[in-house]
């Protein structure tokens, strides 16, 4: 049963299994284990980013395609839901059609870009997506009559998902059972389902062919697989998944703006998460996203303490100031591409063998 749920792709490493279980249990019981608004925000962010990073891994790890437009698809999903909620009011119906519309638009975009530029080579695709994504970000911030420009959109979501709604009068284990909790579990279960769907996809014959195309496109073509078709399908799939993750973010935050969905910083974050967690395995996305977001939220405080402690040394203190943490991540990123191209998961699996 469990193996079927995981599509036969078990973690294949004791330590990895333990780590994944810790992540799963902590996220499943986050509101009870770590009470407080900040930790709940962090947990929801982790859930959403696990889906987003896993969908990116579908491209980068399984298909060997580098795309810089992933935040664009993420943003399309988020804006789809946000626009539906703000234009037709806070109902479940508008969430559904907004999410569907976002996913469809993302799929159409991905199909167009894919058919257009995947024929040539990986590098071409990377450059084209970079250009298109930045143009899209500019367009969104300029069309302020529709998207709210740089300020983004604030909107209401159905009342059952807001803190004002009380499901049970009394506290359960000292936690108020309110709409916010329901919203968290909506995000959590949606993320789990999306993750399992992706796990199913990569372990299907289609996923196997994708890996074959990644490892040797020429040979795959010679055997009779239509490489362009497979690459484009992978692009569309990952775009749809990213759009759905975007919708989850839009529902959770009750706000959608360029900085939270479309910015280049988020694209770089996704890249870092995939590479640090491990390319070519979806479990890498889980670990990468979890570690990265925890570090982003809590390590920066630690760096602040360290910077204060070394404030007497002029250059060092600016180097380890909390604003400079991307610097160290960049260094870590380069080192991990060189020395651990398979990331944490690859290391753990190799350690067992």
């Amino acid at each position: 049963m469990l193996t079927r749920l995981l599509s036969g792709d078990t973690p294949r490493s004791g330590l990895l299994t333990v780590l994944l279980l810790i992540v799963l249990v902590s996220l499943a019981f986050a509101p009870f284990l770590f009470p407080g608004t900040k930790s709940l925000e962090t947990a929801a962010r982790i859930c959403i980013f696990i889906v987003l990073v896993a969908s990116y891994d579908l491209l980068l790890g399984y298909s060997g395609i580098v795309s810089f437009a992933h935040t664009m698809f993420f943003g399309i999903g988020a804006y789809g839901t946000a626009l539906a909620l703000s234009s037709t009011g806070p109902s479940y119906w508008s969430i559904i059609w907004g999410t569907t519309a976002g996913a469809l638009v993302a799929a159409a975009f991905a199909l167009a870009i894919g058919l257009f530029s995947l024929r040539v080579k990986a590098i071409f695709f990377a450059m084209v997506t970079l250009a298109v994504a930045s143009a899209f970000a500019v367009l969104v911030s300029q069309m302020s009559w529709l998207t709210g420009g740089e300020d983004g959109l604030n909107y209401k979501i159905p009342r059952e998902l807001t803190p004002a709604f009380k499901l049970v009068k009394e506290k359960v284990f000292g936690v108020r059972i309110n709409g916010k909790l329901l919203a968290y579990y909506l995000v959590f279960f949606a993320s789990v389902i999306l993750f399992l769907i992706m796990l199913r996809v990569v372990n299907s014959p289609f996923g196997r062919t994708l890996k074959a195309v990644r490892d040797n496109a020429f040979r795959a073509e010679a055997i009779g697989y239509r490489v362009v078709w497979y690459r484009t399908t992978a692009t569309v799939l990952s775009a749809v998944m990213a759009a759905l993750a975007g919708s989850l973010l839009a529902i959770w935050l009750r706000y959608t703006g360029p900085a939270t969905t479309l910015s280049m910083e988020i694209m770089i974050d996704i890249l870092l998460m995939v590479v640090i967690g491990g390319m070519g395995t979806l479990y890498g996305a889980v670990l990468g996203a979890t570690i990265f977001i925890l570090a982003q939220t809590y390590l920066q405080n630690l760096m602040g303490v360290a910077a204060d402690a070394t404030s007497a040394v002029p250059f060092v203190s600016t180097l380890i100031a909390p604003e400079r943490w991307l610097l160290w991540l960049g260094v870590l990123f380069i080192l991990s591409v060189y020395f651990f191209p398979t990331g944490i998961v690859g290391r753990l699996r190799a350690g067992r063998a």
Partner: protein, 342 residues
């Protein structure tokens, strides 16, 4: 033995085909005329055209290094934008030191100050290019995926280092006195600095063409683009050649950074990644590895960006994407594909 020597038979290409091959060159004047028709007013057209050419020249300076590096060694450098930003910051620092010279009305002092700033920027970015090639690019030759990732990482680190060294704020500087103001021709006002930019760009393009077409280094570079292994087999150290080209490309990016900074009069640490979008579009339009294609692409993008900024400001960036799409529909490998699809 007979006296007849074997002569290679050079087939004459039919005129229509020649025309078709030369067609990309005509795109720039075609676009300029179309702009004139759309704008209507010759004076503003002239201003915009010069602005477009100046912008195109600056983009060309930054893009040329990238495209040659790709052509020669199949290496794409996503961190190229970092050199642009570092060049701009170094140049600005030098100009700030020489504030007395740039503020003085003497043209000679102004020019010397700018020249020193440019040289300093090119020196620093050239050396940075050396470090970048040795440390970041060399371990991942031939692996596109890792190249993209690692050079992107290099870009992040370089941008953050700019923050560490120069602080988080953007820098402002005013142009030297000699480059301020504009010339008035008829009713059209043309900024002096734009003319300077066009001049430098043109000189650089012609110089580059000369080096590539009529010197031994240029011959080797072109041969390396065509078939690197063969050049290596003939006894040339193509890695060394590549290193030199990489450093030159980086130095040119630094030069472009200084010029762009003086054009905007404001620089930020992430200016590099912003310009890189335009640079990539230009490189794609021109065809990866082609200097001529890159030049034409840069002119097209510069002109189109300025025309649309005047006619319909909101679609300015989209228009360059549309241009890219249109060109790729017509020629999927860009205007002048040099590198065969590997």
């Amino acid at each position: 033995m007979s006296d007849t020597t074997i002569k290679p038979r050079i087939e004459k290409i039919p005129l229509s085909e020649q025309f078709f091959q030369k067609l990309p060159v005509l795109l720039v004047p075609i676009l300029a005329v179309a702009g004139l028709l759309a704008i209507g007013n010759p004076a503003s057209w002239l201003t915009l055209t010069v602005a477009g050419l100046a912008m195109g020249m600056m983009i060309f300076i930054m893009a040329s290094g990238l495209t040659v590096v790709f052509g020669l060694m199949d290496v794409i450098n996503f961190g190229h934008g970092a050199f642009v930003a570092v060049g701009a910051f170094v140049g600005f620092t030098v100009l700030a030191w020489l504030a007395g010279w740039t503020a003085s009305p003497s043209v000679m002092l102004n020019l010397t100050a700018v020249l020193i700033a440019i040289l300093a920027a090119m020196l620093v970015t050239g050396l940075l290019g050396y470090a970048f090639e040795r440390v970041i690019v060399m371990p991942v030759y031939g692996e596109h995926l890792k190249q993209i990732l690692v050079t992107m990482g290099g870009l992040i680190v370089a941008q953050q280092m700019i923050y560490v060294v120069w602080g988080p704020d953007e820098l402002h500087i005013s142009r030297p006195e000699a480059f301020k103001g504009s010339l008035v021709i008829g009713e059209a006002a043309i900024e002096k600095y734009r003319l300077v930019a066009v001049g430098i760009g043109l000189a650089l393009f012609l110089g580059m063409r000369h080096i590539l077409k009529s010197t031994k280094v240029g011959l080797l570079v072109r041969a390396g683009v065509e078939n690197g292994e063969m050049v290596e087999a003939l006894g040339y150290r193509i890695r060394l050649l590549f290193l030199i080209v990489f450093m030159t490309g980086s130095a040119l990016a630094g030069l472009g950074g200084v010029m762009w900074g003086l054009y905007q009069e404001t620089i930020t640490a992430h200016m590099g990644s912003e310009i890189m979008v335009l640079v990539f579009i230009v490189v794609i339009i021109g065809g990866l590895g082609s200097v001529e294609g890159c030049f034409i692409g840069a002119m097209l993008v510069g002109l189109l960006a300025n025309y649309t900024a005047f006619l319909a400001p909101k679609v300015a960036l989209i228009s360059t994407i549309a241009l890219m799409v249109a060109i790729l529909m017509w020629r999927p490998q860009g205007l002048y594909p040099v590198v065969k699809a590997k």
